[in-house]
């Protein structure tokens, strides 16, 4: 496209007083932004009108030198065909340089003008990616239990075509085995009817829902907006998004043979088996019964987590017994009664009906006997060991395991690291990975959704619970985490929302979470590819497949636009229209490096735009200040940092670099899962590059900066400046 | 302002100075008290030992029925225990028609019937809500300036109903005393139980309750304790020497009824309307400031 460039300088918020605008314009001019307009308050209606007028007159590339790109976003966006580059003179120059010399502040401003200028001139407005052929708008739901059924109905009622796949011969999942539901609705005291019949009626009656029972998924190919799914029954379906609602499996009671004598008597049953009996009306003749909570849950030797539903299920099942025989002695032996929110009333109601709750300690009760059972347990509240005799039945409240294969990933290994060791790690990871699959994804990175813990397939389970690491594929219900029936029900509806949204994004050719709406996407200059596989291996979302010659096959609708592939590529063949190795490299080169004797070191901070950048903005607004020798360059993710930038920076005389990104490790915060981790690993190998250049490794620092660490920003920078002083100037200056 | 004054057994005996002062206060405030003809004991909270639940219901139902038959005024109980028993039974009868019917069958033995029209009040309720602090202020002739008093509520004065004042943090008596011009001191134990219910028989266990309450009042700077319950007054007052003997404390704190202080402030004679001569622990220096 032919660019019509114009720069706009704001004089407000102290910019006009602190900086020589002429100098700023001149600097930008060196990078191709010749024309400039000034305004006292650029974000004011008048200022914006001034810009809009130019845009209407054909200006389509704007360098807006004012405040942070995070501020005044409405005022300074002019539609996606107009390139806007923001230069943060306010936050990154004026507000944070209180202690700086005037000329240093001016140089700082001018560098940012150059950096902004070069980025603007080298960027192109993104053109949304369009799938070939028609975008598939159907939603595939795998799993016909409470969550899947609700997902299917919700999506269908929102107008989507739905394919519902269930491996059993009938729909319903665990609902089929359920006698009654515990109290769900106010006043939370009455048992309720199984909702399955009503759900089945809705499903069978709905024109938008096509059901496949007794079928599993053999193969899932393609990408959001264009999945092709082959079923075990030979059917082939096209879907735009997928919901995996494969539910749970009861924890294997055989594993409790030792701890809770399971199998030693037909009268020791699991809560699932007991429900079946209740459904078959087989609860007659129970005069005395004990329910044992946390049978295999909250136990390091079995399931370390809490299965979340067992306490309420035991309350419900205890009510079955009481209602069949009010005289029956019914005991619930628990560690903590977990009946959260309104369901506290269910606990009370069970008590009202005469159910006795006995608090035990960590040790399991001992169960003996074959027909009539005896049970011995610590009664914490009596502070003594007690025994229950003549029990007709003992029910083990066993927990839930998600129906999803466990995936273990090999730890990241830096380039150049001992490749044998790396292979070994991969092998070990493979060994721990379960070798079955639900979706059989035909993805370079494997057939399953990556899992974090306990085979639960999610990535940010607090803020963005639906986000798996496979775009357009959402999990729903107990496959994601143990939850109660009502939650699984709502969860299905939410998953349907995400699926519909993903299809919409595929249609529009833009990204989904977290860069929702971003129309840029990575393009590969294939002819220069060396088939090193790094991009295909390191993409956190498995977006890139491989052909038989190991050439990368990108799937833009799977892509989240983080740029990790760009950071991984040693050949620099991967770029976005407005974000590339060349653009950032040029920004670095645009920094003017003073002669050594001027004693004005230069440090580049590559800052994650999700956490570090906001922290820097906040620090500046709060009046923190730091060395005027640093230049910030926001990056989409530290994972997108290409080593070339480091090398270029150092060889052009930059004295040091800081990579500021978010927390890594088990409780990582990276919105692209392992960008921060990757950067760290890559930097661990940077020493080689440095040795080649005969430079000190102190010149590179990877710093974890959370979004609320604005109080630390100044400290980190100033400390690093001292380090740079001690190691001395970069010998490459002036080359 | 017409009310039944349910004297209760104490006011005929150890609480006689409560009766005298209450009647004097009523006069000064224009309250007409009527006696419930032939009322009987409420049973108090100890009745459960000799009698059973239904019996203590009947005891109180009879009084309620009499009151209903004799004019239906609100029953005002100066004694907290009477107040609780009458009120509790009244609420139960009003809430449970079946119980009411059953009880009426029994009342029929005495040709009585109760339909649930009566309201049961504590005397603090009457003084604070019906009379009001302003009217009390207006009646003051001799302000209790300089009198450092602790307002003691004890247990049954507000618990369990908390109808006219908070169970945990009551204020009505404090406000009334303040209206009299007295200095009401900070007092942590104001709602702590003094154990009167079983004091006589479990004195070794309960002595400490009295000790703590009186010492807490003294710690706050109180020279005198005011109560609105004959059990509390008697229990806190007459056993002080015993308590000293058991606990090694050194208690000598006058304990009076709020109505005695009111009578005094309303200009009544200290040994007449205020019946201070009925104290076992003389008011001594506590009321010297106001010449009593």
């Amino acid at each position: 496209m032919s660019k019509k460039v114009c720069g706009y300088l704001c004089k407000g918020c102290g910019i006009g007083d602190a900086l020589d605008l002429g100098g700023l314009k001149k600097a930008a001019g060196e990078q191709g932004v010749k024309e400039f307009k000034e305004h006292d308050v650029l974000c004011s209606p008048e200022g914006v009108a001034m810009i809009q007028a130019d845009v209407d007159a054909g200006t389509n590339a704007l360098l807006i030198a004012a405040c942070s790109s995070r501020a005044k976003t409405d005022e300074f966006s002019f539609g996606n065909q107009v390139l806007v580059e923001r230069v943060s003179l306010r936050e990154q120059v004026v507000w944070c340089s209180a202690e700086a010399e005037d000329d240093d502040r001016q140089m700082l401003g001018e560098d940012y003008m150059r950096m902004g200028g070069v980025k603007l001139t080298k960027s192109e407005p993104p053109a949304p990616f369009q799938l070939e052929g028609e975008v598939a708008k159907a939603v595939l739901v795998v799993g016909g239990g409470i969550s899947g059924l609700n997902a299917a109905i919700a999506a269908a009622e929102a107008g989507s075509q739905v394919y519902l796949v269930e491996k059993e011969a009938e729909l319903g999942g665990f609902l089929r085995t359920i006698n009654k539901l515990g109290p769900q609705t106010a006043p939370y005291r009455e048992l309720e009817d199984n909702p399955l019949p009503a759900l089945l009626e809705k499903v069978s009656g709905h024109a938008n829902i096509k059901t496949f029972t007794g079928a599993t998924v053999d193969k899932t190919e393609g990408a959001p907006g264009n999945f092709t799914i082959s079923l075990s029954n030979g059917e082939s379906l096209r879907a735009g998004a997928i919901i995996q609602a494969t539910g749970w499996t009861p924890y294997d009671p055989e594993k409790l043979a030792g701890d809770l004598a399971y199998g030693s008597s037909p009268n020791i049953v699991t809560n699932v088996q007991f429900e079946q009996k209740a459904k078959e009306g087989g609860l007659g003749g129970i005069n005395s019964i004990a329910f044992i909570q946390c049978a295999g849950s909250r136990d390091a030797n079995h399931l370390p987590y809490c299965s979340a539903f067992c306490c309420l299920v035991s309350c419900k099942q205890a009510m079955y017994v009481k209602q069949a025989n009010p005289e029956a002695s019914v005991y619930v032996i628990y560690k903590d009664v977990r009946t959260p929110s309104q369901s506290e009333e269910v606990y009370r109601e069970a008590q009202r009906q005469g159910v006795i709750f006995i608090r035990r300690d960590e040790a399991y009760p001992t169960i003996t006997g074959s027909d009539k059972l005896s049970l011995e347990t610590m009664d914490v509240l009596l502070n003594e060991k007690v025994s229950l005799e003549e029990l007709d039945m003992v029910v083990l409240a066993t927990g839930m395991k998600p129906n999803n294969p466990k995936v273990v990933e090999a730890p990241l290994v830096a380039f150049g690291e001992d490749q044998e060791a790396a292979k070994k790690l991969v092998e070990e990871a493979k060994a721990q990975t379960e070798d079955w699959s639900v979706l059989n994804l035909q993805y370079r990175q494997g057939p399953n959704l990556p899992t974090l813990k306990y085979a639960m397939p999610d990535s940010h389970f607090i803020c963005f619970p639906y986000e798996t690491r496979r775009t357009g594929i959402y999990t729903s219900g107990t496959v994601r985490r143990p939850m109660r029936l009502t939650q699984a029900q709502d969860d299905g509806v939410g998953a349907a929302m995400k699926a519909i949204q993903a299809i919409r994004a595929a249609e529009a050719g833009c990204a989904v979470h977290p860069r929702s709406g971003d129309e840029s996407f990575p393009e590969f200059a294939m002819q220069r590819c060396t088939q090193c596989k790094r991009c295909t291996e390191e993409c956190p979302f498995g977006a890139i497949n491989e052909d038989e010659k190991a050439n990368p096959l990108p799937n833009p609708t799977r892509c989240r636009r983080c740029g990790v592939c760009m950071g991984a590529c040693p050949e620099r063949i991967i770029s976005f229209k407005n974000y590339s190795v060349d653009i950032v490299g040029s920004q670095i080169k645009a920094i003017e490096v003073p002669e050594e004797d001027e004693e004005k070191p230069r440090v580049v901070v590559l800052a994650c735009e999700n956490d570090a950048l906001p922290a820097i903005d906040m620090a500046a607004r709060l009046g923190k200040s730091w060395s005027a020798f640093v230049r910030f360059i926001p990056v989409r993710c530290l994972g997108s940092v290409n080593l070339v930038w480091i090398a270029d920076a150092l060889s052009s005389g930059i004295d040091g670099l800081i990579l500021m990104g978010c927390r890594r490790g088990d409780d990582y915060q990276c919105h692209f899962i392992k960008g921060s981790e990757l950067a760290n690993v890559r930097m661990s190998k940077i020493s080689e590059t440095l040795q080649r250049l005969v430079l000190e490794s102190d010149r590179i620092k990877v710093a974890e900066v959370g979004i609320t660490d604005h109080d630390k920003v100044a400290g980190i920078i100033n400390e690093f400046m001292e380090t740079i002083d001690s190691v001395g100037p970069n010998p490459y200056k002036g080359f | 302002m017409d009310y039944f004054l349910y004297y209760g057994c104490s006011l005929e005996g150890g609480g006689v100075h409560y009766m005298i002062s209450t009647e004097a206060v009523a006069k000064a405030l224009g309250i007409n008290f009527h006696e419930i003809e032939d009322w009987n004991c409420c049973g108090a909270s100890i009745a459960y030992i000799g009698g059973n639940e239904m019996q203590s219901i009947v005891l109180n139902a009879r009084n309620l029925a009499l009151a209903e038959a004799q004019g239906g005024y609100d029953i005002v109980a100066p004694c907290s225990s009477c107040y609780i028993m009458l009120n509790k039974v009244n609420r139960e009868l009003q809430a449970h028609p079946k119980l009411m019917a059953q009880v009426n069958e029994i009342l029929a033995e005495g040709g009585l019937k109760y339909s649930g029209q009566i309201r049961v009040r504590h005397i603090l309720d009457l003084l604070y809500h019906d009379v009001g602090v302003e009217k009390i202020k207006a009646a003051v002739k001799k302000p209790l300036t300089g009198v450092k008093v602790a307002a003691y509520y004890g247990c049954q004065t507000t618990r369990p109903f908390g109808e006219y004042d908070s169970c945990e943090n009551p204020h009505t008596q404090d406000d009334i005393l303040a209206a009299l011009g007295a200095e009401v001191v900070e007092f942590g134990h104001r709602v702590k139980c003094c154990g009167s219910g079983i004091f006589l028989t479990e004195i070794d266990k309960c002595a400490y309750l009295v000790k703590d309450i009186i010492e807490s009042a003294a710690a706050g700077g109180a020279q005198i304790i005011s109560t609105a319950c004959p059990m509390c007054q008697m229990n806190l007052e007459i056993y002080q020497q015993r308590v000293n003997a058991i606990t090694g404390a050194n208690l000598n704190m006058p304990v009076v009824f709020v109505t005695q202080l009111m009578a005094l402030a309303f200009g009544g004679d200290k040994d007449g309307a205020a019946a201070l001569n009925r104290l076992v622990v003389p008011s001594g220096p506590a009321l010297q400031a106001v010449g009593a």
Binding site: S387 | Y48, I49, G51, L59, G110, C155, G162, K192
Partner: protein, 201 residues
């Protein structure tokens, strides 16, 4: 110890307000709230849990069930709305009805108090203590009442008690006036007694 629901059911059915303890969640507020918490082996919470465990003798013979000062503090604070004080009284009453005496002295005093009510319709604070004392027999009783003489004298001095303490109680006491309707009252109380007796049987 074996768990057994027989006693729990007995309490639910026969003890006044007994079934209300079912909803106790064993939080412990009652025990910690009681003014006599330091004097009790078991607080209400523990007593409920003993009932649930079926410890009949331990509960009914437990002197703590009769140590209640009736202050209602536990009852107003109980997060599950258990009328703790009523249940305590119910338990004590039930124990006495079973011929068990958890606390002899309080039992005697209560008995004297109730007799006062039954005989006259009202309670005479001067007579009740004597009746209470004399349950130990004349000699011991007089001794006990002499032990209380200081109190009695103090009250008499303050004109808050009529001098009846030394009149042998077995003969007619003029000072004690009966209410007019005492006979009907007694009939009522007898009828009421029958109803609860049926329940407790």
């Amino acid at each position: 110890m074996d768990y057994n629901q027989t006693f729990a059911k007995e309490v639910y059915e026969k003890v006044d307000s007994g079934d209300e303890i079912k909803v106790c969640m064993q939080c412990g507020v009652c025990g910690a709230t009681c003014p006599l918490r330091g004097e009790m082996k078991y607080g209400p919470r523990q007593i409920w849990s003993l009932i649930r465990a079926g410890r009949r003798d331990e509960v009914l013979n437990n002197p703590d069930i009769m140590l209640c000062t009736s202050c209602y503090t536990c009852q107003v604070r109980c997060p599950r709305g258990v009328p703790i004080m009523e249940v305590m009284h119910g338990l004590a009453h039930y124990a006495l009805a079973q011929g068990i005496v958890p606390r002899a002295e309080t039992a005697k005093f209560g008995k004297a108090f109730w007799e006062g009510i039954y005989d006259t319709g009202r309670v005479d604070e001067a007579v009740v203590p004597i009746k209470y004392c004399l349950q130990d027999g004349l000699v011991a009783g007089l001794k006990k009442s002499l032990g209380m003489m200081d109190i009695g004298l103090a009250l008499m001095k303050a004109k808050r008690m009529k001098p009846k303490m030394f009149i042998p109680p077995n003969i007619f006491i003029p000072g004690v006036h009966k209410i007019k309707g005492v006979k009907q009252l007694q009939r009522m109380l007898d009828k009421a007694a029958a109803i609860d007796a049926a329940k407790e049987a």
